[in-house]
């Protein structure tokens, strides 16, 4: 009896173009012919990163990768590999990409199989507290390669060729930032890893550090070599104790092994890293505020230019990148900048990590190639919306981002496409909302967050967001006035233009994007005093219909005694007493209570 196998067939754009669909049919036919369908499953994956050798397929266990496969090769693969456990050597492509290992363990599960793991390549398969585990998966080899074979300028060239852009939100080309820092002539330069991660609900950076701290360190050390920095800082929020502990251990282990400190790996390059704890203010993730915070001042932004690359920490040139940006570096060096730039879209290369949350079946942390559609993320990886509810909106970019309606589901993950749709890539928050979510309320939630986090330095952000929040609050309370939508738009655009830092410049986005994509919901709230999602309590009423069987359950549930009625007869809600908590609605087993 043959063993169980999973065939992962690349369903990425290049492979489809090279007729991978024919392979799928051929595999199915062959499996049926050998009556193997029950023992072998087929898993369609996103781009496997070997497009040049496409169409590509992998056979699990062992993750044997076959390249340039044609339909004519399939009978041989099935009869030799599957039936006799003899891989077909002539088709094997021996590409020891760093991320392949992850799929050897997880590749057969749909949720994982559709992803591509560069940043999270080791998360979930190695012991993050053991440097030996990292070394065994070619850890610190990229650093050694750089120190042995490359000049600092070569490293920068590679990062530029890779097309990597900053993953902290703004998407600035990483190679250009490095070049700018490298060009500065000073005695001292600094380097910072931004692990502040202030977006509510985001945990991409925490997970990366907790799962594979050394990859972040290795990226930083390579960056320091490239730009000539002598000292690095990791700015991380104090609420991440486990991540901090693992970083501390990783730094100590890396020092002991000679990857940090004087004369790294016997070269004449020296560099060390320290951890700095942040108190968790959102604005401290902004680079100039963060720098002030490390210097021991209050975390307040300052106008740019000068950019930190020119004048940063202690007025010295400072290279600052996000955790995820750093984690990409070792892979770019080892797997090659050209390879990296083959993944993704024209202007957005590589992958992006997202924290998938909200009304979605498979919540979690995912990493997908740029260019994947939002639809594919929500339905293929996320498994769709639970409880047969309808999709309503996708929020990306957290408090700086926007809400996209169903019309935008075919938008590709890419900095420019998301911006064109009215949201942003941001740092990776992704919240799915169903029909029960009120868009005005969501906008209010995010604005309340940014309003609270505004540092108060500049007036448009400090006062403007307060006024916007007042308007939004009154709309959700049923006190919206004619012209409020226009007022919000005018104020929002003003705040975007006149604020000093990115916090204020992006704070109106959740409001403006919901007005753009869900304007009628605002109008309902203001003109009809109705919240169709039933989320704004002040605008929601409850009524008992004649489906009522008189079970008395709601009467017992009502906290204010607003419901009257005798057993087995129709019940009634006293609208004067009702506080619109919705408890009766949730309690009734006979769908007899109507929300309006």
């Amino acid at each position: 009896m043959p063993r169980k196998y999973v065939i992962t067939l690349c369903d990425g754009p290049t492979c489809i173009h090279k007729r991978s669909k024919e392979l799928e049919t051929a595999i199915e036919t062959e499996l049926a012919r050998h009556e193997l369908s029950g023992r072998v499953s087929i898993n369609l994956s996103g781009c496997l990163g070997m497009c040049a050798k496409g169409p590509v397929m992998a056979v699990n266990p062992q993750y044997t990768v076959y390249g340039n496969v044609t339909a004519d090769d399939i009978p041989e693969i099935i009869s030799s590999h599957i039936l006799k456990n003899k891989p077909v050597a002539r088709l094997c492509i021996d590409e020891d990409h760093l991320y392949n290992r992850f799929f050897r363990v997880f590749g057969d599960v749909n949720f994982f199989g559709k992803q591509m793991r560069i940043v999270l390549r080791n998360c979930g398969i190695i012991d993050p507290e053991n440097i030996d585990d990292y070394l065994s998966v070619r850890g610190y080899e990229a650093l050694a390669k750089v120190l042995t074979e490359m000049k600092p300028a070569d490293v920068i060239t590679q990062v530029k060729i890779s097309g990597l852009r900053g993953r902290g939100g703004a998407g600035f080309p990483t190679g250009i930032k490095w070049e700018l820092t490298a060009r500065q002539k000073t005695d001292e330069k600094f380097l910072i890893c931004n692990a502040d991660e202030g977006d509510p609900g985001a945990f991409m950076d925490r997970s990366t550090i907790e799962g594979d701290p050394h990859t972040v360190l290795e990226g930083m050390i390579i960056g320091a070599y490239a730009v000539g920095a002598t000292k690095g800082f990791i700015y991380i929020r104090a609420e991440y104790p486990l991540a901090i502990r693992r970083l501390e251990k990783a730094i100590a282990d890396a020092r002991r092994e000679g990857f940090l400190g004087e004369n790294i790996l016997g070269s004449d390059f020296s560099f060390d890293i320290e951890i700095r704890l942040g108190a968790g203010a959102f604005v401290c993730g902004e680079e100039t505020a963060l720098i002030h915070s490390i210097e021991g001042h209050r975390g307040m932004p300052r106008p740019r230019p000068p950019y930190p690359s020119v004048q940063g920490l202690f007025d010295k040139p400072t290279l600052i990148n996000n955790v995820e940006t750093w984690a990409n570096i070792p892979v770019i060096i080892l797997d090659g900048a050209e390879w990296f730039s083959s993944i993704g879209t024209e202007k957005s290369k590589g992958t992006k990590v997202f924290a998938l949350a909200g009304k979605i079946k498979n919540t979690g942390l995912i990493e997908v190639p740029m260019g994947m559609t939002l639809r594919s993320i929500i339905y293929d990886i996320g498994g769709g919306i639970p409880n047969n509810k309808k999709f309503k909106a996708l929020q990306t970019g957290g408090p700086s981002g926007g809400c996209l309606s169903e019309d935008y589901l075919d938008t590709k993950i890419d900095y420019e496409s998301l911006a064109a749709a009215g949201s942003i890539m941001g740092s990776g928050g992704m919240i799915v909302m169903d029909e029960d979510s009120c868009m005005v309320n969501i906008a209010r939630f995010f604005l309340e967050f940014t309003q609270n986090e505004s540092c108060g330095k500049c007036t448009p952000c400090r006062e403007g967001t307060k006024r916007m929040l007042e308007i939004l609050t009154r709309i959700t309370e049923g006190k919206g006035q004619e012209g409020d939508i226009e007022r919000l738009e005018r104020l929002g655009n003003l705040i975007k233009k006149a604020s000093l830092c990115g916090l204020g410049q992006s704070a109106p986005n959740p409001v403006l994007s919901t007005i753009k994509n869900f304007r009628s919901e605002y109008e309902d709230h203001i003109k009809l005093k109705k919240c169709r999602a039933g989320a704004c309590t002040a605008l929601t009423g409850y009524e008992i219909t004649d489906k009522c069987v008189g079970c008395t359950a709601c009467k017992k549930a009502c906290p204010v005694g607003a419901i009257t009625g005798n057993p087995k007869s129709l019940h009634l809600i006293d609208q004067g007493k009702c506080v619109r908590c919705g408890l009766c609605f949730d309690t009734c087993k006979f769908s007899a209570i109507k929300r309006s």
Partner: protein, 119 residues
């Protein structure tokens, strides 16, 4: 002259040897998720069950390791049992009791518990 690349190759060989000497080649390797999210879901308890079973019941052919979060948040705590040549078995929402049963049935008798695996 030894280059950094020579040095790293030597270090990797040493690291792999250290891992092997800890029993990496055991028939079964067990990975328990230990990240903030996993721990919040109760993975420390699960880890404890595996640790004490390996110690007290002399499970010599099992290599136990912690791991970071693979990403399936709503199915945590997760545990993988990896055997060479087989598709790794991935368990989700593992409790103390389930861990106990995984030890008795999967680790000791080699029977994976299908109902608990992540599809």
């Amino acid at each position: 002259m030894t280059t950094p690349l020579d040095t790293i190759k030597k270090k990797r060989a040493e690291a792999i040897n250290r891992i092997l000497s800890k029993g990496y080649l055991s028939t079964k390797r067990v990975y328990v998720g230990m990240a903030t999210c996993e721990i919040a879901a109760g993975s420390k308890d699960v880890m404890e069950v595996f640790e004490s079973a390996i110690k007290k019941e002399g499970l010599t052919d099992v290599y136990l390791s912690q791991k970071g979060c693979a990403g399936r948040c709503n199915l945590e705590p997760t545990v993988e049992v990896v055997e060479e040549g087989k598709i790794p078995i991935k368990y989700g929402k593992v409790t103390r009791e389930m861990a106990r049963q995984i030890i008795d049935q999967h680790l000791k008798k080699g029977e994976a518990i299908k109902e608990w695996t992540i599809k």
